[in-house]
Symmetry: C2
Subunit: 356 residues, 2 copies
């Protein structure tokens, strides 16, 4: 497929959470239909998708039927089982591609890839065993962070080592999973670049946003971010370098630490990203439509920002503030249609807009 | 029901065209679900609604099941049969209310209502028969327009009388339907006010947009409209007067002629309106969300405009321009998911944004 998808075509979305939900809405604006695949019943994206399949990632018949019903497949999360991808890739184009997914699924592979491009990451070491952890600590010292190589998100699968004596406990927290040691980066703040690359290789980046986390979960993103003009350009160029190296198609979130010595890449996410939700309020084409445009083979939209925005996540009980938020001026509410508000669960977000 | 609808509640939407589609998307942003009722198969709104009922307006069992599944009912078009409304009103709140619908369904009733409020409309006369038409023509002269009292839209059910000799042909065009005679209004341009009123009586108006029609169909809406500050205020105040008089809940489109002698009300539409589509690109809360907020008993959002916008409808073959439009900067595309592009059929629209 090299022609842009025509209106009426169907995009398959793996994962039916809030990202899939907002992708589905974006697809509808372009006259495209969506089919959401999720193992869980009543996924948030299902409320705004034309079709929903509720089936496990291992259900070959369901996966085949899903693929047969769509023109292209994308995903809202990166931890899709390998066998699932193998099957789907044999049936339909999957965008972004396999390599981006494989790299982002493993923190060690990701760091090797990024440093291989000449980019700076935190100092890191593979930790296959206790001896390797001791060696890494001896080399880089504390504080440091031990992380599982796979399946970590929102601060899960991480243990801080504030002093060498905490190494044993940190290793125990990994629960036997493969781990990676990361030296501490002394940064002033974190920013992220939401970058997109089209099927024809064109690249477009939104203005970097400045992120504040609490308990490992994104709390707010503010645009514009505090960045010197040179840093802004560095951020955009390194994002483009990553996308090009991967022959990437779609939107990627690139998290960066801002340090006195320059930008350090924290991690990449091969999908629309929480820190890009502000684009819904500040741009003619938001990150969700940009991703759909890319995977559908359309030209990328113009991501130019025409307002200042502060995005705030509504996590857990924050959702009880919606009645008050709904009375705030210039505040755009986005709720995800989830049921119970468990602690740490992302229930929605607001975009507070001011003139740019 | 006086409490705002909580996330997870369901809004029933009568009519599944593009307006229902965009209402459904707006509801999803507020965490509300939607159930669309439409007699036609595969309605555009169905692609982004949680549920769709395909049934006739006379299907009492389907109407009862629909009402039972929703918390409040609204509509995307004003020509809902009276018996349908009678039944639904007995089961669930219907917003906007019956009176607004009844008034806008009949051009004569509408004009009587508007002039009764002290507002200016085109000179008009009921035309129950040939003699009445002759009398109206004798009084007001040509040019004039003969319109069916009911079921007219997009220029349908209208016949111009450029000279008295054309009266007979115009009457024949009405096909025996009740008709109304309207004298010609010499106006410089047309604007519309998209006004909203909440359940608690608060009123909020978007900046007036300036409309250009072609062949009776809206072609473009531009904000800001050409209006002197006094005219702008007049437009907003008269819209508020109309909404208050009707104890209205929801969004209404009020079309106005701008004349040297002041504003003349052309017509009102008790629903979201094509001339309000620009709000998707220029405001934190667009007309669709504003309508959902009102009918769900939420506080109205802030309709302040933070960009200049030109909305252009994509009518019939215009949709073939989408590949070119998708390469335009600052152009937001909205397609409606309709099948064949028949002449005169609204297939989508674009919002071209510039900094305000």
């Amino acid at each position: 497929m090299s022609e842009p998808l025509a209106p009426g075509a169907c995009i398959g979305i793996l994962g039916g959470g809030q990202l899939g939900r907002m992708l589905s809405v974006a697809a509808s604006r372009l006259g495209l239909r969506t089919h959401v695949y999720d193992p869980g019943a009543n996924p948030p994206a299902g409320h705004v998708a034309e079709r929903v399949t509720t089936a496990d990632w291992e259900d070959e018949a369901a996966l085949r039927a899903f693929a047969a019903s769509v023109d292209v497949i994308t995903y809202e999360f990166e931890n899709i089982p390998t066998a699932t991808l193998d099957l789907l890739e044999s049936l339909r184009p999957v965008r972004p591609n396999r390599r981006a997914l494989a790299i982002s699924q493993d923190r060690l592979t990701e760091k090797d890839f990024l440093t291989g491009l000449g980019l700076t990451t935190a100092p890191y070491r593979d930790v296959p065993d206790r001896a390797a952890l001791a060696a890494a600590l001896a080399e880089h010292g504390a504080p440091a962070i031990l992380k599982t190589r796979r399946l970590g998100y929102d601060g899960k699968g991480q243990a801080r080592i504030m002093a060498p004596g905490q190494a044993e406990a940190a290793l125990a927290e990994m629960g036997g999973a493969d781990a990676i040691f990361e030296g501490f980066v002394r940064f002033t703040h974190e920013v992220s670049v939401i970058a997109a690359r089209g099927l024809n290789g064109e690249v477009s980046c939104y203005d970097p946003g400045e992120n504040v986390h609490e308990d490992g979960i994104l709390r707010t993103t503010t645009v514009p971010a505090r960045l010197a003009p040179g840093q802004h350009m560095d951020a955009v160029l390194l994002a483009g370098k990553i996308l090009n190296a991967l022959d990437y198609v779609g939107v990627m979130g690139v998290e960066l630490f801002v340090t006195p010595k320059g930008l350090v890449v924290n991690e990449i996410a091969p999908r629309v990203h929480n820190s890009g939700h502000w684009t819904q309020a500040g741009c003619a084409v938001d990150q969700f439509e940009q991703h759909i445009r890319a995977v559908a083979g359309w030209p990328l939209g113009n991501g130019q920002r025409y307002a200042d925005v502060v995005m705030e996540n509504l996590i857990g009980d924050d959702v009880d503030r919606v009645p008050a938020l709904s009375r705030e001026a210039d505040t755009q509410i986005h709720l995800y249609g989830k049921g119970a508000a468990r602690p740490g669960r992302k229930m929605g977000h607001v975009n507070r807009v001011s003139r740019g």
